[in-house]
């Protein structure tokens, strides 16, 4: 079969039989996952469950051992412009010499080629993305001077500037203040209400029901997935967070 032909095009993120192993130890095992378009989806699971690895494998940053991933029916390489990625804030050096606007503009660099530079329109787009996370006043501020919450907003603006259909965020609420968390959630809900799909690796079980309408519970394997109301059950939580997980057969 031609790998570029459409496969499950009506699903925003389709993951099938995905297994990722580091040095032969499985980090993700046989993941089958479908996130429909237009939902705000949380990916939860204990430490070491493979949440970030799932995102990285989907985005081609980690080489899977087996399985495939499709975005709106397309391989990621063909769907890049429709996917906006917000990595964990701690993965970069915030002492880098750049302003908030510089960083946001980087979201548009994927469209450039060798020896090309962004035009004036890119600057304007970046400014309006900063404005939509209420950071317009900080456009010229060095990123080293921003608070953790402000840095997170800059990272989200960098994805917004691409105007994608699917947002993938890795722990955007980690280490930000309550005001920023509320602003981020409001922004993501607004995106969802515009028909965008939002997938968030989330660490705070307390707020899952309040923030999200779709839920994936992960612990190396997929423990449960679906609407939050159906998936967020004590039984599933116990299976995801309690005890070890067997790779073959039922959960222990």
């Amino acid at each position: 079969m031609n790998p570029d032909s459409l496969h499950e095009p009506h699903i925003a993120l389709h993951v099938e039989d995905l297994t990722v192993a580091y040095r032969n130890a499985p980090v993700l095992w046989d993941i089958d996952l479908d996130v429909p378009p237009g939902v705000m989806c949380a990916v939860v699971g204990p430490n070491g469950a493979g949440k970030s690895t799932l995102l990285k494998a989907a985005l081609g940053l980690v080489q899977p051992t087996a399985g495939h991933v499709r975005f709106f029916g397309l391989r990621y390489a063909k769907a890049r412009s429709r996917v906006g990625y917000v990595p964990q804030r701690s993965t970069v050096d915030w002492d880098f010499p750049a302003t908030a606007l510089d960083v946001v503009e980087m979201g548009l660099y994927g469209r450039l080629g060798w020896f090309r530079r962004p035009g004036r329109a890119a600057r304007a787009q970046a400014l309006s993305a900063l404005a939509s996370v209420e950071m317009a006043d900080f456009a010229g501020r060095p990123i080293a001077d921003l608070s953790g919450g402000q840095q997170q907003r800059v990272f989200i603006a960098r994805a917004l500037v691409q105007d994608p259909d699917l947002y993938i965020l890795d722990e955007p609420m980690a280490g930000v203040d309550a005001v920023t968390e509320a602003a981020i959630v409001a922004l993501l809900k607004r995106l969802r209400d515009q028909g965008r799909t939002v997938i968030v690796v989330h660490h705070d079980l307390q707020t899952v029901q309040k923030y999200f309408d779709w839920l994936v519970m992960l612990n190396v394997r997929v423990i449960a997935q679906g609407p939050v109301a159906e998936v967020y059950t004590p039984e599933n939580l116990r299976r995801a967070y309690g005890g070890r997980v067997a790779l073959i057969g039922g959960a222990t």
Partner: protein, 370 residues
């Protein structure tokens, strides 16, 4: 004779300027990508390349440069391979590759020198550089390499910036990160090659690190940082050339490195916002102002308690309210016209009142002390 001397100085200064500018720009990326040590590896690895270049192409600088570039590339690949196929940590990989290549270079060097041949003796000058031996043709070759290296960075600027800041994100965007990183490593090797004759393989890494570190202290964006690093590099290069030309027996290369390092040290100490001394002075100023605000607040509260804004507060009382000596703070406030010293007979101790200016002063003490 004088004209000949000036000509030599001109050549050396031009070479030093080329080296400083190239090292400054490419060094900025090395420092930001935390690859400063890779620069040291590439520089030391140039030695065997120089020897092989000499064996193949003779004393001509282009042949030596080509040898150094190839050896640097092999060293960089070795570091990558060790990182990929073993569990060694990066610092260990860098250390091993540096020593192996440098040891191989020293062995080759002694072999070449023992087997004689015209100019073989001059090869050891590449250990610490020998600026005086520089010819106009050498400077032209250096300038060509430098212009190509800086020009390539400028041409790929947005991707270079993104890959330095956030490589995984760049990959997610579809930027060919591995190619950009390979390009940056190649350009760093080119910058090193530019400096081999001037400062030599052992000290070259300082010309990558020091100007970049100095520049980072003063500016907050990448383009100004690279430009300022080039300026610092040129200042160090030309300054070193002039100083060593004016005094007998001072090796140019090491003097250039010392000036570059001094610029970095001064910048780390004095630069506004980031300098250690600058920050210490600012903290002291802020502490003094805070203390002043609190004393004014105390005086104001005492005035309110006595229903008299001009209440004459005894110095000991103010000390007691703060739990610490406040005489210096009061003197400072008096100098600023916020308080005035008054007497309060029959007591002979110092007393203080708020002046009109002190009454009007807004501050955290408005609501009283504490």
């Amino acid at each position: 004779m004088v004209a000949g001397f000036d000509h030599t100085l001109g050549v050396v200064a031009a070479g030093a300027a080329v080296l400083g500018a190239t090292g400054g720009v490419l060094g900025s990326f090395a420092v930001l990508r935390r690859q400063s040590l890779l620069g040291d590896v590439l520089a030391h690895a140039a030695l065997p390349g120089l020897c092989i270049g000499f064996l193949v192409g003779g004393r001509a600088l282009p042949a030596l440069m080509a040898g150094a570039l190839v050896a640097g590339g092999l060293a960089a690949l070795s570091v990558l391979a060790i990182g990929r196929f073993t569990r060694l940590k990066p610092d260990a990989a860098l250390g091993i590759v540096l020593s192996v290549f440098f040891a191989g270079g020293v062995v080759l060097l002694s072999h070449v020198q023992a087997s004689g041949g015209a100019g073989a003796a001059g090869l050891s000058a590449f250990l610490f550089g020998q600026a005086a031996a520089m010819l106009v043709g050498d400077v032209q070759a250096m300038a060509l390499v430098g212009v190509v290296a800086v020009g390539l960075v400028a041409a790929c600027w947005p991707w270079v910036k993104l890959v330095c800041f956030d490589p995984p994100y760049a990959r997610a965007l579809g930027v060919p990160v591995a190619a950009v990183e390979a390009l940056l490593t190649l350009l760093m090797a080119m910058a090193i090659v530019v400096g081999l004759q001037m400062v030599g393989v052992v000290l070259m890494t300082a010309m990558l690190i020091a100007p970049a570190v100095a520049a980072r202290a003063w500016v907050t964006r990448l383009m100004p940082m690279a430009a300022l690093a080039a300026v610092f590099g040129i200042v160090a290069g030309v300054g070193g050339a002039v100083i060593s030309a004016g005094a007998r027996g001072l090796a140019t290369g090491p003097v250039v490195v010392l000036i570059a390092t001094a610029l970095a040290a001064l910048s780390l100490a004095l630069a506004p916002g980031r300098g250690v001394v600058w920050r210490a002075l600012r903290d002291r100023r802020l502490a003094a102002r805070l203390e002043g605000d609190r004393v004014i607040g105390t005086l104001r509260a005492l005035g309110a308690a006595h229903g008299d804004p001009g209440y004459r507060a005894e110095a000991g009382m103010i000390d007691a309210a703060h739990g610490t000596a406040t005489a210096r703070t009061l003197d400072r406030l008096a100098a600023a016209g916020m308080v005035r010293e008054v007497s309060h007979a029959p007591e002979s101790t110092r007393h203080w009142v708020l002046t009109d200016k002190g009454q009007a002063e807004p501050g955290p003490g408005r609501g009283g002390p504490g």
